[in-house]
Amino acid sequence: MYDYVIIGSGIVGTNIARELSQYQVKILVLEKENDAANHQTVANSAIIHSGHDPKENTLKAKLCVEGNALYEQMEKELNIPLLRTGAFVVAHNKDEELMLDELYERAIRNGVKEILFHDQEQAFKLEPNLADDITKVLSLPSTKVTYPWEVAFACLENAILNGTEFKKNSEVTDIKKEKDYFKVEINHKVIIETKSVISAAGVFSDQVAYLLEKNVPYQIYPRKGEYFVLDRKAKGFVQHVLYPLPTSKGKGVLIIPQVHGNILLGPTSNRQDEKDLLSNTRDGLNQIKDDLHTLAKNIPFNLIIRTFAGIRASSSFDDFYIQESKTYSNFFHVAGIDSPGLTAAPAIAKYLVDHLLKHHNLQKKNNYDPIRPKKTVFYKLDFEEQLALIKKDPRYGNLVCKCEKITEAEIVEAIHGPLGNDTIKGIKKRARAGSGLCQGGYCEQTVLKIIARETNQPIDKINYYALDTPILVQETKVKP
């Protein structure tokens, strides 16, 4: 019997797991895909927002500002990458400057501590590539950028270190409430028993809730966001996250420096029916290019290496829906987590666990270890540190991904361990091999062979990402 089953291993589910793993409770995290952190967590802007944008007196506003501060602590404890970019919201004329004033007021009321204005001259000194017609900017120094799925991995690894269990390829197919516990059915086969269920199922939150409840008090309205990724050769094009003024559709199309030097352009914001259709569209991508001219000039579109799309779990509820079920006690909805979900995630976890503390008897562990040791990113070390590492393990001398300078040792590390992975994309998420200019054109075949060797599998069993997606489909020159 588990104490808590958490459905979903995205940024929210993993933060909740980590927070709960401080207590003497038995936790199981269930993930339907072949790896942790798959949907929104891997397809967003990576921004830790300051909190200037959410409507006042909402959970979004409160937890965004709290989450922003909590990332400082997470950086220390989990050694996650955090780029302190700051942000500018830009105005082009007097009307827009008035809107900047309103944003300023709202930010103050939301609890944003660091906030100031720059006039045109100062703004262009700090960001020479701003669009020429920008007249004033609102500066938000507390805005940061992180590497979202690494944060989720770090939280889950830490939770696992502290006793949490994790099962991937485990889709919840039914939930039934017995007298004082739940029967959670996985893959139509296995039944898990648990005292409480926390649903952090992102875009599928309402579907998961319907497994149990007839009247789910919200509906997920999927909203697609498309992006371009610029190669890290674009590093330095801008230093800050650049926002236009927000509209009813959302924050708008942004320019976002990333922790490894890349720059994201996007997102769009378009409602769609399908939850799982992560396609890029001509119109969406063209819209990004059109909208960007209000932010910057000389945009290095020639450095585009990739496009992607994510689906936001926007909901009919218009704020985060973090509540115990009205019908079944001990079933907790953590739903409608769209922007600023990444920022708010650690605060969402604390908010939920604070509530649990009041109603459940949770005893703290005395051996809880909040630390996840720093991950080796070989190319970031200096020559002497690199030499020392190679002495210990010569696989640090074998460069596998030439574009991003990732070594064999880092790839081997990504394969093993409690959150290790044996797929091409899983390794890309962890070690970044294949994230560069040639997008794995050169190194994929080497990564594939390393995975096969390390996991004792034949090379034609190695998957791209999901189960049963082998890269190599049929051996030639063998008798059928």
């Binding site: 030639t476 020159k477 063998v478 008798k479 059928p480």
Partner: protein
Amino acid sequence: MTKMICIACPVGCHLLVDDEMHVSGNKCMRGEKYAIEEMTHPTRILTTTVKTTSLLTPRLSVKTKDPIPKELIFEALQLLEGIIIDNDVKIGDVVIPNILNTGIDMVATKSVTINPFH
């Protein structure tokens, strides 16, 4: 009247062959030879691979020394299935002699050492 493009060399002359096998459009004699052959018994050089036991070179590239009848290509490929090279091979070594009785050998286009010592 048949239209075709000559493949004897990279120029790729556009050829016309009439019902009496008269060829026009060719810039050299190879074109005429190619056109008539293509109409009567087309041939192709087959380049492909053969499995080996070498860890460094699991596939050895091979070719037919001369063009073989086009209609025999897939049969020739089938012949290669199940062959495993487990001895050292030099470029030009015959891998399959007189393939499908054409009088043409299948030869290695790469050298392979099965047990290299580093």
